[in-house]
């Protein structure tokens, strides 16, 4: 009898957890959620939303950005991303510059992501086994995206454990780390025009001024 009661409680707990996991991303919760489970939940959520939304299927970019803003971005640590892409220049930036850099870099990544999601729609994601030791606070979640046409693409997420949940600080597409890729570009901009020059360039790109 006691055993039955225990399993009933366990079932209730599982149901509750499942319900919590299906709630919108913006909620704090999930402190105990494993990083790969989190990537899976967010990715499935975003893909399901995109597939179900007639506006997005019609190519409405504003709507795609809205989905990215509300469902994807809360799971990214943009300050860390920007700091990594800045390398040693990050410490030379004033707090105000750091904030502007983070905002503009975030804007650029939103634009890039909307463009990518607009093109890749009928994809399925395979999740590779997570290599993680207990107590790790920095892991790589590895996925393989199968496209309806073309070769599969490996997309990995660098995840860091924060106080409330895991946050993504790097996306690695087919072995190409976004953060590493921007490091030389940021350095070059800073060499030519200082940190304010980099902020200006990022702002220009976000306003749609073409790159050279």
């Amino acid at each position: 009898m006691a055993a039955l009661e225990r399993s009933a409680w366990r079932l209730a707990a599982v149901v509750l957890l499942a319900a919590a996991a299906s709630l919108p991303v913006a909620r704090p919760a999930h402190a105990e959620e494993a990083p790969d489970a989190m990537v899976r939940r967010v990715a499935q959520d975003v893909l399901a939303t995109i597939k179900a939304d007639p506006l997005i299927q019609a190519g409405n970019e504003a709507r795609i950005r809205e989905v990215i803003e509300t469902k994807l971005l809360p799971n990214f640590d943009f300050a860390r991303m920007t700091a990594l892409a800045m390398g040693r220049n990050w410490r030379n930036a004033t707090p105000e510059q750091q904030k502007r850099l983070t905002d503009e870099f975030r804007g650029l990544l939103v634009r890039t992501y909307s463009g990518a999601l607009n093109q890749y729609r009928n994809e399925t994601i395979e999740y590779k086994p997570l290599r993680m030791n207990p107590g790790d606070t920095d892991v790589l979640v590895r996925t393989l995206v199968q496209r309806s046409a073309g070769a599969p693409v490996q997309i990995d997420y660098g995840m860091e454990k924060k106080a409330d949940a895991w946050r993504c600080y790097d996306v690695v597409v087919a072995g190409v780390s976004l953060v590493t890729n921007y490091r030389d570009e940021f350095n070059e901009q800073i060499r030519n025009g200082g940190i304010d020059g980099l902020i200006r360039t990022l702002a220009d790109r976000n306003r749609g001024v073409a790159a050279k």
Partner: protein, 237 residues
């Protein structure tokens, strides 16, 4: 970008690179020839924007997807054979077996490579090439090169592509127009596959030359280490 279309361009650039490498100013360790490369990149952009990209886009718009997929499959099947050879040259017997298995399956069941049943069965492509083999043998990349119509490479990787082209099999075809048409189709097929990627680069890059260079070098490193490159030290800590 366009690997199969090349020939003399890479040869010339590789030669120029080796000659110039000694006396050029050094803007960066990986890219000592940056001024020349940037000039080549400008040439490439003009050709790509006005000629190659529109042709690739037209190909995508006109030719139905199943046919395009089969064209890619045929070229991929030949690449898989070379991947097997390079797996063997690197002493990676599992990769050799994997890719030979793919070639046998796809050539037999896949009707001469028109279809790709191996991928449907979950056998992933090995993606080995001569450039990676040279790297595993301990040969460094040499200067980075940007070759118009071909794209980013290094002296080592470009040499690998030349070896690949020299070995064949398209080069064996005695009929010159047919051979050149096959090179052309292969090039258009590759450029068409990269159309989506180049749109993303257009949005993401602050400086497309640098973006492509870094992406290329990272990608090659990743392939050389078979998808598990050691972590590079981070600069900010």
């Amino acid at each position: 970008m366009i690997r199969r279309a090349t020939s003399s361009f890479t040869a010339l650039a590789a030669l120029a690179a080796t000659l110039v490498a000694g006396c050029a100013a050094v803007p960066s360790q990986v890219d000592p020839l940056e001024p020349m490369n940037r000039a080549m990149y400008e040439v490439h952009e003009v050709l790509d924007t006005n000629l190659v990209r529109p042709i690739a886009q037209g190909y995508v718009d006109i030719v139905p997807r199943p046919i395009r997929t089969s064209v890619s499959n045929v070229f991929n099947n030949i690449d898989d054979l070379f991947s097997a050879v390079n797996g063997l040259l690197q002493g990676k017997l599992d990769k050799f077996g994997n890719d030979m298995g793919r070639v046998i399956l796809n050539t037999g069941w896949g009707v001469g490579g028109l279809f790709d049943p191996a991928s449907e069965m979950g056998i992933e492509r090995g993606n080995e090439d001569f450039g990676q083999t040279f790297a595993v043998w301990g040969i460094g990349p040499g200067p980075y090169l940007f070759v118009p119509l071909f794209g980013p490479t290094t002296v080592r990787d470009g040499t690998g592509v030349l070896v690949r082209i020299a070995v064949g099999p398209v080069g064996w075809i005695p009929d010159v127009p047919l051979r050149n048409s096959l090179y052309g189709v292969g090039a258009v097929d590759l450029r068409a596959q990269a159309l989506a990627a180049s749109e993303i680069v257009d949005t993401a890059a602050l400086d497309r030359y640098l973006f492509m260079r870094n992406a290329y070098l990272q990608r090659r490193r990743y392939l050389i280490y078979d998808g598990a490159p050691p972590r590079e030290k981070e600069e900010d800590e």
